[in-house]
């Protein structure tokens, strides 16, 4: 495929407010998962990866002084990460050749649930109607950067921003754009917390991906955006990494569960390798979806065994650090994959205690520095069987 380069990255999560802070937390093997403080909930005992900034602090950080009540937390997180990514990418590209592919799952829910009473009784001012849907964060980002061509918001549950990256990459491949800001944003909400709790898949004490004693997801929140550029406009000195392969598939199996044999994940990983023109043996590190649920880790683990056989590269899930940031997860893990390549690092899986009896491999449990990391494969799987795999390579 024609080259798609990453020339900018921005991230805010429980690990910190920038890519630099994210790397520091990863190096220190520090988890951002802690008791919930953002809102009142009966599920207080369940920890989550909160961004350690209030809405007011986020507004102040971005010097937003007017209409402060029209910014949802989702939009504020998105703007923070998008600004960092665009600042990093210095190229001057014709405005007509820039697009934006954002993503979110909960959209304006953080605003919605706080104001449910006035919304349901129709007494909320109509200026707030625009804050409720998925498009709001993208439109605010677009307005900030003056992007006007082909702006969209993808929503495919937990693979949303991986799919946003794929749509953006195809805009470049087909010549529709030279520069595309891609990523995702999701604020922690009572809605998602109760939704995952109703499915009984929240961990009461912090997620333990690929562990025999794993007991569910830890939710998180945050935003991550990347700047993708075509070979025509990317300045070599700005190139951080290359998106070398990607795939979007659907398992078409069940509304929420993946198949225990990992059929869908296998398909996703295989097709991504094919589009990258790489062999399984070329992959130096797998940043797994690894949510810490009984079924995901079994299904994904078996898929990794199917594709990589006996030569499985180091595997870890970094959700033990950030929590599962839903729509932001794919882009956040894309940035973590990029950091692995840039700094030749392997990030350990946190809170690992016991080998899963069903699997032949153990996740990476130690921090490795100075190991050559040239190709990283990152999985993002969502409800509805919405699977995506991305491969990042040294430019």
């Amino acid at each position: 495929m024609s080259a798609v380069y990453i020339t900018g990255a921005g991230m805010i999560s429980a690990l910190g407010n920038s890519v630099k802070e994210t790397l520091l937390a990863l190096r220190e093997q520090r988890s951002g998962i802690s008791p919930i403080t953002l809102f009142d909930t009966r599920l207080k005992h369940i920890p989550a990866g909160e961004v350690k900034c209030s809405d007011e602090e986020l507004l102040d950080r971005m010097d937003i002084h007017s209409d402060r009540d029209t910014y949802t937390r989702t939009a504020l997180l998105g703007l923070t990460a998008a600004k960092e990514a665009m600042r990093m990418s210095q190229s001057s590209v014709d405005k007509q050749r820039i697009s934006l592919v954002s993503s979110t799952t909960t959209g304006g829910m953080s605003f919605h649930e706080k104001n449910a009473h006035t919304i349901f009784t129709g007494t909320t001012g109509s200026k707030y109607i625009a804050l409720l849907d998925c498009a709001d964060a993208a439109q605010k980002i677009a307005r900030h950067f003056g992007i006007s061509n082909n702006i969209t918001t993808v929503s495919t549950a937990c693979s949303s921003s991986a799919n946003a990256i794929i749509v953006g990459a195809r805009m470049i491949k087909t010549g529709m754009a030279d520069k595309v800001l891609v990523g995702g944003t999701d604020a922690l909400t009572r809605f998602a917390l109760n939704g995952f709790n109703s499915l009984e898949i929240l961990s009461p004490d912090g997620c333990m991906p690929f562990d025999a004693h794993r007991n569910g997801i830890s939710l998180g929140e945050g935003a991550a955006y990347l700047v993708l550029e075509s070979a025509a406009v990317a300045k070599p000195e700005n190139i951080l990494c290359r998106l070398s392969g990607y795939t979007n598939t659907n398992e078409a199996y069940h509304q929420t569960a993946s198949s225990p044999d990992g059929e869908g994940a296998t398909l996703s990983i295989r097709q991504a390798l094919e589009t990258a023109g790489l062999l399984a043996a070329d992959i130096d590190y797998i940043n797994a979806h690894g949510t810490g649920t009984w079924i995901n880790d079994l299904s994904e683990g078996r898929a990794i065994e199917t594709v990589f056989g006996t030569a499985i590269p180091p595997v870890s899930s970094t959700k033990g650090y950030t929590g599962h940031t839903l729509a932001a997860a794919g882009a956040a893990e894309a940035i973590i994959s990029m950091l692995a390549i840039q700094h030749n690092l392997l990030f350990p899986n946190l809170r690992f205690t016991a080998q899963m009896p069903e699997l032949s491999f153990t996740p990476q449990t130690t921090m490795e520095e100075n190991v050559p990391v040239n190709h990283v494969l990152s999985n993002s799987f969502g409800f509805g069987g919405s699977n995506a795999t991305l491969i990042f390579s040294r430019p």
Partner: protein
Amino acid sequence: MEKTALVEQLKTQIIEALLLEDLTPNDIDPAAPLFVEGLGLDSIDALELILLLEKQYGIRVEDPKERRDALQSVNAMADYILSHKSEG
């Protein structure tokens, strides 16, 4: 409540909870497995049935193995309810 009456009541409640609009209580064989075969229910239905036990009978089943046993069939559900009601 007698088991036969309880089984009939459960059938109606299951139809309602799982939105099985096209079925009547007579279509449900109380001895047939509820999952995969029989009614062909799935993991989402299982959660609804656990909620049904909680809301209608005040019984909360936590243990995964106990859940599997309790939700084997309508008969199994009735037996579970009867044995746990008498405890309380």
